[in-house]
Symmetry: D2
Subunit: 460 residues, 4 copies
């Protein structure tokens, strides 16, 4: 019989039991459920709602159960519905009467949210570590290839030369905001719902501040109905994950492009590549394709949760049981994506010679030519036009900007002088960049130093 079965005369049908069970996935919460129960029992004892010896039996029993679970010896029973009932019922089986007092001044409604917030808090810490790990991998790659110039793209058309390290730091910056979002989410979620009971609180003399403290929460939540009904903390968490997912999908796209024969910028090592069952010559950057692909999953998880919560009246509705799997999936997916991206970063080689050979194509120095003209006092719109016509001449002639003679330049704009050649070519272009945050050698060097210090990677 169910522990809540007092007024029930019939048990649920098999179809219903199978459809409504949650033990197949919410057992993931076991550690935090036990943690919460121990804090709750200690509080009940401190408040005189339970004897010290009952508390001790409960704590000891729960520790035992945790050991059994972690040893794979605990039998999860579907007829006991969920992780809470499985553990409580096992505790009753094990220690008898005292266990029946554990659920005093507690409902599964506040219990599951306590577990879930604790779980999410740990999950955020795990993701934060993985974010930093990837930042370090990217920074290390940037340092290893300092000085390497690659084409910068807009519209996937070559635009201007950039330092590879500058480009890699763009991803480090993104990840930094990602971490910020997770931290804000963690701060906002770290309040204790325990003691909200079903939705209304209780008349028993509990101490919510004590359980909040002992579980590391900032404070108990101020409103019991809010505590059991809202799920904004997971919506915010999955939003943050979705944004990380989008960021990594862009990194994935970038590296898949770079690994193509056409770009040829990087060679992933065999240890992060896979082959084809039919084409013997293939070597595919699979991990980064999957990173790109798995971003879809974290977006889907977020949409599931938003759709789930839409239009639900207060307070707890059983729909909300569906809040866990998308979160578990999102966390597992994001951690995997971050880890494998770091692994990939550690296993690619940049093909410097090939990049250098390909660099001249695309008139990457055309903007520098325009800047040169501005420095000579030509209004920008006119400079842009002159540079545009110079490129058109190059296209016609099949040469680079450096390949135009001074006469040819002057036929387009008489302002151009001999010193123009000091601005042309990608190396000159890179040297020319000087603004804060730009891709010039000096600004990028500053940024590398900044990140070496921020990420404490010890050496530059």
């Amino acid at each position: 019989a169910k522990l809540w079965g007092g007024r029930f005369e019939e048990s649920v049908t098999d179809i219903v039991e199978k459809f409504t069970e949650s033990i197949s996935f919410d057992k993931e919460l076991y550690k935090h459920d036990i943690m919460g129960s121990k804090a709750h029992a200690s509080m009940l004892a401190a408040q005189g709602l339970m004897s010290a010896s009952d508390r001790d039996s409960i704590v000891k029993g729960l520790d035992e159960i945790q050991k059994k679970i972690e040893a794979g010896e605990f039998v999860w029973r579907t007829d006991r519905e969920d992780v809470h009932m499985n553990i409580e019922a096992a505790l009753i089986d094990m220690i008898g009467e005292p266990a029946k007092k554990l659920h005093t001044a507690r409902s599964r409604n506040d219990q599951v949210l306590t577990d879930f917030r604790l779980w999410c808090r740990d999950a955020i810490d795990r993701i934060l570590a993985s974010v930093k790990h990837l930042q370090v991998a990217l920074l290390t790659l940037a340092l290893k290839n300092e000085g390497l110039i690659v084409p910068g793209y807009t519209h996937l058309q070559r635009a201007q030369p950039v330092l590879l390290s500058h480009l890699l730091l763009a991803f480090v910056e993104q990840l930094d905001r990602d971490a910020g979002r997770l931290l804000d989410c963690r701060t906002r979620m770290n309040f204790s719902p325990l003691g909200a009971c079903a939705l209304a609180g209780t008349g028993l003399p509990i101490d919510r501040f004590m359980t909040s403290d002992s579980l590391g929460f900032t404070a108990p939540m101020r409103n019991s109905i809010d505590a059991v009904s809202d799920r904004d903390f997971v919506l915010e968490f999955l939003s943050a994950n979705a944004i990380i997912g989008i960021h990594l999908s862009r990194l994935g796209e970038e590296w898949v492009l770079w690994a193509s024969e056409e770009f040829g910028f990087i060679t992933p090592s065999d240890s992060v590549s896979t082959g084809s069952s039919i084409m013997p010559q293939k070597k595919n950057p699979d991990p980064m394709e999957l990173v790109r692909g798995k971003s879809a999953r974290v977006v889907g998880d977020l949409v599931t949760l938003l759709t789930l919560c839409k239009g639900l009246p207060l307070a707890y509705n059983r729909d909300l049981q569906e809040d866990k799997e998308p979160v578990f999936d999102s966390v597992k997916t994001i951690v995997g994506m971050l880890e494998v991206s770091a692994e990939f970063a550690q296993n690619i080689t940049f093909n410097k010679q090939r990049i250098e050979k390909a660099l001249p194509a695309g008139y990457l120095d055309a903007t520098t030519l325009a800047d040169y003209l501005v420095k000579k006092g030509v209004p920008f719109r006119t400079s842009h036009d002159v540079a545009g016509r110079s490129v058109a001449l190059c296209v016609a002639k099949g040469c680079q900007l450096q390949g135009l003679s001074l006469d040819e330049f002057r036929s387009i704009s008489p302002v151009i002088d001999d010193d123009v050649y000091g601005y042309l070519g990608v190396e000159n272009a890179i040297k020319n960049f000087s603004s804060y945050g730009s891709t010039g050698s000096a600004p990028v060097s500053d940024q590398l130093e900044y990140w070496v210090a921020r990420l404490e990677i010890g050496t530059k």
Copy 2:
């Protein structure tokens, strides 16, 4: 070593292997993978690309493997990546050389799509059966309660009286279109990709029509690149599922409302209800709440797949490995939702007395009054106004429309006569409905007959 490992010198790292494996979920395809391989081997033999005895060994070996899988004795190996490689490698282990010929003129790209289309075809058939099962349950409920009048709502405000059976048939109609969408999807998806190989087809003399036929496909797909790269068949499938999910979420909302103390229309039996861990009096319609909630999941699955496919270049990309789990989840969820809804329908009782007592509230006959006036020749806009003012008078007096005296009616409109009372009250209102598809007794009776015949439930 991997079967594709010819040109590889290093094996993938653990992180990469774990992140890129698909065996944990794609083993779900084993039956269809074996079915496809048997058809492929038979064709290879028929075309002289394999000896009859090799074919026989292969077919026998595959049958053996299937038995082992179904007996739970097959060991799935992560280092063998996916279901295809696991089965092929096991076949090589088992029968040796001949097995090495199985992958002739085939790539995992066309193989997995053959498996997946076969799997989806079966899944659609399974869902279609569940759709019909729910339709029958709803129709049975409608027949059992024929004649019962309930309030019809718009804006969740009482609008007009309707026959319960009429209302239940609205859901039967929705499910009918749901089935139509699945059938269309099935027809469009039932073409064979086998023989498209990696993306370009093959130079070996295969017979794609033979494998297509033997696997029950309509025909081979016309374009090998299309065959391996598109996933529109699953996008369409998950769209159809998402729409079913939305339909069921509305049924769930309806029944959760009806089961509330405030509505009080239905009492679910204990066998489809659950209780509370803290509130002893509670009896909750959990299965229908979860039906409503799980609709979010099928929406999320669809979004995952749409996001996944967005912006992928031709042909196969590893991202597409992520196409399976959302489909598996969507199918499992929808089947569960359909089944449990049917179970619920079979386990509710309508509280006729309570419904009858509550029916008078809400002026459900006001529109019938307006229709009465139209029949007397009053333009509708004026009739609407008269009926509106009659209601206002009732609100002031605290009575029903039937409670107004003829004098009171005439003070509002002199056209009203004694016969008006034959139109007022919900029973009269129901009698009055006569248009095709309306909630009148006769039209609803016609519809019930129609559905009894369509769903072949034997008796009315």
Copy 3:
């Protein structure tokens, strides 16, 4: 005062009026609203619910109003809420009493759905025309470049050589299924809700078959509650659009890649390119980037509509007013995407010389070598291994497969003979493909003929 204002004493506040109005967008339905009203009036007259002269005044008045709307002279009033009330009120202003009879046996609930289904039916026809237009553009491009070999990709790695025309036909195939989905949707949606009234039908002697016929519907819907409450026809429509959007996003990605300096396969004409406000040399394939980007929008529109409908009880709820804008946006976006893709297809040139020069890279003929070995009787898994090791040798030597000497080949597999050179190189590889639907010259030529006939483009 509102036309429905009989029982109301106060008018709505400005904030509410502004928030709840729909006239700013639903005026888009004016033509279909008038069409529906004319059919309704004719039926009312035929059924004796209105005089012939009233009907004539109404029809004439509505024609007048339509003319005014199309001349931009009609004043839409927010205080008249929506397109239905605006037109009806204007009709009353114009022709007086008879207009008050138009809303007999009709509610805005069935009226708006009649309008909306008619609008969607037209929209589908418009999209179908655009789909065909793009198919023709792609086929034309394929014919123009018949025989051109390009690298085929999997994992964005070069895989096997394919004929460009084969690749373009893959998109033609996708679009064909897209059209199929729209047609199925059109068939399923083309039923008449008119006469369902608010939700229950009516007691007035209307003829729903007559209005259904005159509006070109297949039949009236069988259930009045279903008719006013379900939105699955738009969910299906937007799903079909979303899938088209995803297909076009993939075409967009493909062409953006091809237009890059690195791929360099195509040069878009200036007439479909844009420049940069800062970089004078840039020429960007903007339209196809936007095609890729706008796919997100049609996905978002679908999600909006799914989320909207989730968990709504029967029958009409005001939430459903929000069903129109996503549909309008989705239709406009998809038509734009299809049109601009066709425009782009008509304005690109393939850079044959550059493609030919780049073709040898990537060992595209490695699979052909494996097939060669299979033809010699070597089991495929062994052939794959031999070809893989041949490629590894080439990588070490820095040559193509054709560049290996017979001795070198034989050192890997003694089965290889002089005739191997007839299989190597991309031209030989293409010649070698022969299976149905493959990229061989003959099969592709068959497919081109098939599509020329199907799309009736007259000449090949």
Copy 4:
């Protein structure tokens, strides 16, 4: 000719121009574009890149243009593509040469992001004001109805009695976290991209700190590639909005339920209700239905933006032009939802008598009975069972818990004594709640005081 047209020989076709234009929606940014240009010009002058008199002409010209725009006299031209080009070109038309210098050391890439961040910053401030406005309206409603007891629900089944003010404060709490998310987003987004130029920065001696300061940004962004390519600031913004939307959809559901005949808790005034075109008696809570419905839209907007950004390579891609409309729509929708919810809150009356009459139903005091037993030393699981069996007895007898005699109680549990009646009934139950954050009179009074002070509404 386009301002970027130097190297172009042909202008874009009409279809392309229409498809790629953004002026129809991005003119919304005009004020912030002008603000940014003025700051940029001042900086250019300070750095010697422009004369003081050129700067003055530019600033004066821009002010003029702003006035014209706000007076509705500015002609937006589609052939000038976007808001930036429209304003710059108009400035050139107006003041000539000096205007051509404005785009020095700036690209549309950094310009549009400067505009967009400024616009979003303002939008967040606008939403924050609306959030507070709704909190005040809810708090005022709570104060006005202090002491009113309503049923609290879980699973939409009556669970325990709660104070209405407690329940309303649950929404105030949600909104508070919503505001927190927006503030965090604002802080994270408030960095200046200006000076990142196309993607690489510039070689001209600009001062990014100066423009950052004068536009109220915290600092310039550290990485120019990151600055022009990332859109996480809008993803975060739309996530925050989506969560607000979900919260409001739940408020909408709650109030739509309460306004139903069945619940009958509230009567909205006529000024926030609408009627039916066919049913004269109807009075619908439309605004809150639309609030619920429009939540779908903000979810869709978020999905659009996530899908848009997925898989885009660095840096700017034209796809990203699609980032604006979802943001504009999301902001407009959320502000409308917040405002109309506040309006609704100010225009509802609670039907105290009806609520009081309905309160006894549902055994809301059953948990209090269980708590009573716990206080007597009975283990909770046993107490729960006793209370459950007491309810079962009541159901059989058709009475309330108070209606059981002491003997009847004792037949179930001998521990129960005369004092039990001091715990039964909803008033006693409410009195009994005492825990922090619970629905007891004292804790709720504390919370009301807290919020009166926090929201500074002056009086309690």
